[in-house]
Each structure stands twice: as C-alpha cells, then as structure tokens.
C-alpha cells in the first residue's frame, strides 16, 4: 500500500504543477456590409493576454485600458495586428484600417475595416494572434455575409483558413 501512496503522491504533485486554469481564446467577427461595401471586423481579447503578445515586440508594460495607457499603445497594437491578422478577398491581399478600440473590465475590442469590398466569394483569413505567446491559443473567427455565416477555428497549427461564401 505504501508503494501506491508514494506513486499516487508523485502523480498528484506532477498533475497539480502542470495544471493552470486559463483560457487562451480570442474571438473575431467579420461582417460584410453590402450597403457600405466594406468588411467590418471586431476582435475580442483578454487585455492581459494581448499585452503579453504586444510585449513580444519589446514594448514594456503598455497599461492598455487604464488612464496610464502609453501613447504608443495603438502604434504597437497596429504593428502586432499587421503581423498576425491579414485578409485576402478573392485572392487579393487587402489592407485593413484601424478604426479604434474599447475596453471593459478585462476585455478589449478592436475595430478594423476594409473598404471597397462590393462582393466576396472567397475569403482567406490569417489570424495567428497570440499563438507566438501561448501554444494553446485558439482564435475563433466568425464570418457573416448576408444570411451566410461560417466559423473558423485557428491556432498555432492552423494559422489561416479559407471560406467560400
């Protein structure tokens, strides 16, 4: 019985140390607005996770969403987004425009827009946000165009996905 107890203790200690209750997820919603001929994009992140990602650019603490937020926060944010979030419409690379960001409690929403998109048949989305800091990061991407709605689950192993709308 003592043997079992020692093994049990060892297994328990190992599992205890390897377990962290953390959720590494982000959500991205892309909506094709036919009236304004644009793709409207909203990202949702946990602020602390996003800051970790931005720190990989050598930013130091940005204090996003607080009164002490650094003036350069948006510059770094755009830089990081450019590296990890890109969209191809019908095979053509696009350039999104940074509209703004909002924070509430531990969440941040980032708004982007791609103008001059009258029709979309084929959409390629690269969203590797935070996969460089968290191996288990999952980025959920919802795309809506008219009545059609599709979802992509992107991660370190699958950083981009294609959709036929």
């Amino acid at each position: 019985m003592h043997r079992f107890l020692i093994v049990g203790l060892f297994v328990a200690a190992t599992l205890h140390l390897s377990f962290r209750h953390a959720f590494y997820v982000s959500i991205c919603q892309i909506e094709h607005n036919t009236a304004s001929s644009g793709l409207e994009i909203t990202h949702q992140f946990f602020i602390d996770d996003l800051e970790k990602g931005l720190e990989s650019l050598g930013t130091g603490k940005l204090k996003i969403g607080t009164t002490e937020e650094l003036a350069k926060a948006n510059v770094y944010l755009k830089k990081y987004l450019k590296k990890h979030f890109n969209i191809w419409v019908d095979g053509h690379a696009t350039d999104w425009e940074f509209i703004g960001k909002e924070t509430e409690d531990d969440l941040i929403w980032i708004y982007l827009e791609i103008t001059d998109v009258k029709t979309v048949q084929h959409l390629k989305v690269q969203n590797s946000m935070l996969t460089d800091v968290y191996d288990r990061q999952t980025n959920m991407v919802h795309v809506r165009s008219g009545n059609d709605q599709q979802t992509l689950l992107l991660s370190k192993d699958k950083m981009s996905g294609d959709l036929v709308l």
Binding site: A13, F23, Q29, R136
Partner: protein, 195 residues
C-alpha cells in the same frame, strides 16, 4: 464550419484536453465509486453530473446565478475531495435504493458547481452573448461526447488493471481515490492561497 460545429469541437476539446483536467479528475472519482459490473450505478452518477452541469451552465450564462470565478475554481476540487473521501469511507457498504438517490442528489449538486466552471470558459468564447442558445447547446453536446470518451478510457483502464493486471478491484479503486484526493487537496490549498 458552422458555429455549431465550432462550439461542439471546443466543448469536446475542453473536457478531453489539459484545460479540463479538474473535470476529468472528477470523472475519475465518479468511476472509482463503482465496480466494473455496477454499470447501472455509474449510469446514475454520470447522469446526475450531466443534468447538474447542464442546468447550472444555462443559469450561469443567463446571469441567474452569479458566483465569483475564484470560488468556483476552489469548489471544483472540493467536490473531487469529498467524493474521494466518500468513496473510501463507504467502499464496503452495501447500497440501498434510497442511498443511491441520496448520492444522485449530491452528485447533481457537484455537477452544478462544475457547470459554473464550464460556463466561465464558454463565456470567454462569446462576444456580447451573441448566439448564446446555439453555442450553449453545441458546447454542452461537445462536452457530453468528450465525457463519454473519458469514461470509456477510464473503464478500459479499470478493465486492464483489474482484469489483466490482476490488481484487486478494491485496491484499484483506492489508488484512484487516493491519487485524486491528494491532487484535490493540492488544488484546494493552492486556490485558497492564491489571492
């Protein structure tokens, strides 16, 4: 894929992956409460857990019950610890029908606590609670499918250990309850010490 398929996949991954370890360990002690031939009892316990976490997930997501994340994460290992202690204490007792229903009630309540944990995760997958009903349903079905696999693996291990490995069932059950209990003590203390 559809949003439904995505939430199903995330539910399945959550309970079968490293993030769901505390829920898996609870399933371990549920299985350890039964011998291999007591499949009816296991079915009752698993149903109680499922009903419990489904109800509380819906209630927590719609804001009917609100409990601090810290408390939920502390209570989850408490459910594991109490179940493991109960298993070890009453392992020799013959169980009457009435007792089974008492156990059903307790496991249902424990399931409610785990459900609040699940809902915390699901909340982080939603933007402004959009598509709440569909995602809740798909995520929960994914959880059940994953739970089914976890229990299947546990039963297979029990069969290998007690059947082929010739470990007496009572010893096997003590190993599971003991290990899970010790782990739960680590978690209970660890969560309590976290500010």
């Amino acid at each position: 894929m559809t949003a439904f398929a995505a939430f199903f996949e995330l539910g399945f991954q959550h309970i079968t992956g490293p993030d769901g370890l505390d829920h898996i360990v609870f399933l371990v002690v549920l299985c350890a409460a039964c011998q291999l031939w007591q499949w009816k009892k296991l079915l009752v316990l698993v149903s109680a857990f499922t009903v419990g976490h489904s109800i509380s997930m819906a209630l927590a997501l719609t804001g009917v019950i609100v409990l601090k994340t810290k408390w939920i994460e502390w209570l989850i290992p408490v459910t594991i610890l109490l179940t493991a202690i109960g298993n070890l204490k009453w392992e020799q007792k013959e169980q009457s029908k009435k007792r089974i229903w008492q156990i059903f009630g307790v496991v249902l309540f424990f399931g409610c606590i785990h459900g609040m944990g699940f809902s915390n995760y699901l909340k982080s997958l939603l933007m402004n609670n959009e598509g709440l009903t569909t995602s809740l349903l798909a995520f929960n079905i994914g959880l059940e499918a994953g739970q089914f696999i976890v229990i299947g693996v546990l039963l297979l291990l029990a069969f290998l250990a007690t059947g082929l490995g010739k470990i007496p069932p009572r010893v096997w059950s003590r190993i599971l309850n003991g290990t899970a209990g010790i782990l739960a003590i680590f978690w209970v203390i660890g969560k309590f010490l976290e500010e």
